[in-house]
Amino acid sequence: MNAPEVEPALADMMDAVLAETRASRSPRVPARRDPELWRRLDELGLVRLTGDERSGGSGAGWYEAAALQAAAVRHGIRIPLAEHDLLACWLLESAGLAVDGAVRTVCLLDGHGHAAGVPWASGAERVVVVWQVAGEYLVADAAAEHLDITPGTNMIGEPRDAVVADRASLSGVPVPTDRIAQLRLKCALVRSIQVCAAMDEALALSLDHVTSREQFGRPLSRFQAVQHLISDIAAEAALARSATEAALSAAVSSDWSAPHLEFLVAAARSCTGHAATVVVRNTHQVHGAIGTTNEHRLHEFTRAALAWRSEFGSVKYWDDRVTDMALQAGANGLWSLISP
């Protein structure tokens, strides 16, 4: 998701450092945060890319962050940059709390002080915890050791942990409700950006494969049936990207306050989730059996796309949200939902 707004030199630097990391070591499963890489990225100002410069951030925006996410996905590097920078540290800053060099993630507790599937809690030093008391949201910057964290993983081995917090022991700072609504949209859009990047890379691998592999005496790409599978991959990935970029542009230009942003994010998640169905099916189909092996890199993108499309709301959840909004739009109101 390289936006033209991103300086090519910055995008190249991001790509180069992640490519070099990938070349020097194989990915670990289950994924663990790589402290050496984290330090390196920190020195380059990429760990708190969007943070306030007065508190050690680089002062960049979401377009740059999206480019960084895409580069990490492209090189198969699992690292909680988005959770740390775009979600946890952003929330701390916006709540007026201090941000230091600790590695963070974010966690929304339910009414019992529990949270499931919290990304990267087990590798974090601190967790930005959000909970609700009497209709008001509170935010606290909790040390990981003060939380009860039971490790879990998603299907690609990234930490997705169960967290239990003793809310009475946390001193929370109140934040407005719409801030937490923004947090939810940010979480959702991060995954959309990641899935889009994974789908683009699965397409690139498929193009490489069908142009180099020969069967029946000619490259697979010469078969019309194969061309059509590839065209559908490309078309679906492009639609997901259009929907995701529309949400991202509206978010950035309105500082996440556009009234129709929730619709755009929900639509992006729906398009992205359903695109992954076609992209995963067809990229595996054109790769044949080799694409199902651990050795081949295809799974780094297909399995990741499947894992991520189901996080911060399943595809069904987002379809359901769009359905709600469509029903609320009323007679002849559907079009103004799509084009306000």
Partner: protein, 381 residues
């Protein structure tokens, strides 16, 4: 590094056309309230209403991109896009002027002579001149280069002989642009020797026969040309350049909102009917609405590229494949879900959508041909 983009990033600022969109919505609400039209499925093919066209012309919403010197409004392509999107989303009857406004205007501006521009553009802008398309033939569907209609030089012009089919609205339109052979086929260079001609559909040597659709409706025609005379002044573009002229304009024909909004009024009716609980709740509604929203973004991005005169054949093919499939999926969803309790209007919209559906993925280039266009864009062929 990442692959080059297949579809350009959207650079169209929605705020730029917001006021215009609201004007069109206001106009549509007034027309609806006055009973001037009934929202319908596929109204850009089936909804021929010359009074409605005249009302649009009076508002300055026909031939929007035509320069003022030809009586036009000098608006941008992106503004035209916004207006047409609003009209299509409302299911307004725009068929009468559709072809003239969508593709004859940009074609005339690009290839037309001064005489042709002065002759046709002011009338198109006023909603007084309607066009058809003269490309397909009985033996020439997807393979357009195989057209057999012949144009032979005669005194003062050309005589055209052959048969054109699927000419929407030929029985009501004033003219069409016919693609014809001006030289015999060279098997090694099939795309050479083709030329375009502006043919007066009311002239001598032109016979128009209806092709009735499977639901009994009449939109399509067969146009028989039997030595139809075309004066030299009505040769369109350059003799021998027909193929380049036809293909260079395909992005205008393939990327527009008519490629994903043909059944939008039915989707709106689904939401309304589901809201009244006369249709069971289904998240497929949200899935389809989200898809239309994504297509709206993508189609806008292509409109921006066309405005910048960038080549857009491949992204247009992407819009058309996804969009026309989604139009059909909307018909399918409504039919699978629809009960008698949904009411007569709903049932009628569904029936029309199902009947029109096969055409969605055929007209303007079949989805199979378009997949080939994308494959070529990706370097596979």
């Amino acid at each position: 590094m990442a692959l080059p983009r297949l579809v350009p990033r959207s650079t169209v600022d929605p705020a730029g056309t917001e006021e215009l969109r609201h004007e069109v919505r206001q106009f549509l609400a007034e027309q609806l309230a006055a009973g001037r039209f009934t929202p319908s499925v596929d109204a850009w093919l089936c909804g021929w209403d010359e009074e409605f066209t005249a009302a649009l012309a009076a508002r300055g919403w026909l031939g929007m991109t035509v320069p003022a010197e030809y009586g036009g409004h000098g608006r941008s392509f992106v503004e035209r896009f916004a207006v047409t999107e609003e009209l299509l989303a409302a299911g307004a009857p725009v068929a009468a002027h559709w072809i003239a406004d969508r593709q004859i205007v940009p074609s005339l501006l690009k290839y037309g002579t001064e005489f042709q521009r002065s002759e046709f553009l002011p009338k198109i802008v006023r909603g007084e001149c309607f066009f058809g398309i003269g490309m397909s033939e009985p033996d020439s569907g997807s393979d357009l280069a195989s057209v057999r209609t012949k144009a032979e030089t005669v005194d003062g012009g050309w005589a055209l002989t052959g048969t054109k089919v699927w000419t929407s609205g030929a029985h009501l339109a004033h003219a069409f642009i016919a693609l014809a052979r001006t030289e015999p086929v060279d098997p090694g260079h099939r795309h050479t020797g083709l030329s375009q001609f502006i043919v007066d559909l009311r002239g001598s040597g032109v016979e128009i026969r209806p092709i009735v659709s499977m639901n009994g409706a009449h939109h399509f025609n067969e146009v028989l040309l039997d030595g139809a005379f075309v004066p030299d002044t009505m040769v369109f573009g350059e003799i021998g350049q027909g193929w380049q002229q036809v293909t260079s304009e395909l992005a205008f024909e393939r990327s527009g909102p008519e490629r994903f909004l043909s059944t939008f009024v039915l989707l709106d009716a689904c939401a309304e009917t589901m809201g009244y609980q006369q249709l069971s709740r289904s998240t497929d509604l949200g899935r389809l609405v989200a898809r239309v929203a994504g297509l709206h973004q993508m189609s806008s991005a292509v409109a921006g590229a066309l405005e910048r005169h960038e080549p857009a054949d491949v992204p247009a093919a992407v819009v058309k494949i996804l969009g026309t499939t989604t139009e059909g999926d909307i018909a399918e969803f409504a039919h699978l879900a629809g009960e008698h309790t949904a009411g007569q209007r709903f049932t009628d919209l569904v029936a029309t959508a199902l009947d029109q559906r096969p055409g969605f993925t055929l007209r303007g280039g079949t989805n199979e041909v378009l997949r080939g266009v994308i494959a070529r864009g990706l370097g596979l062929r």
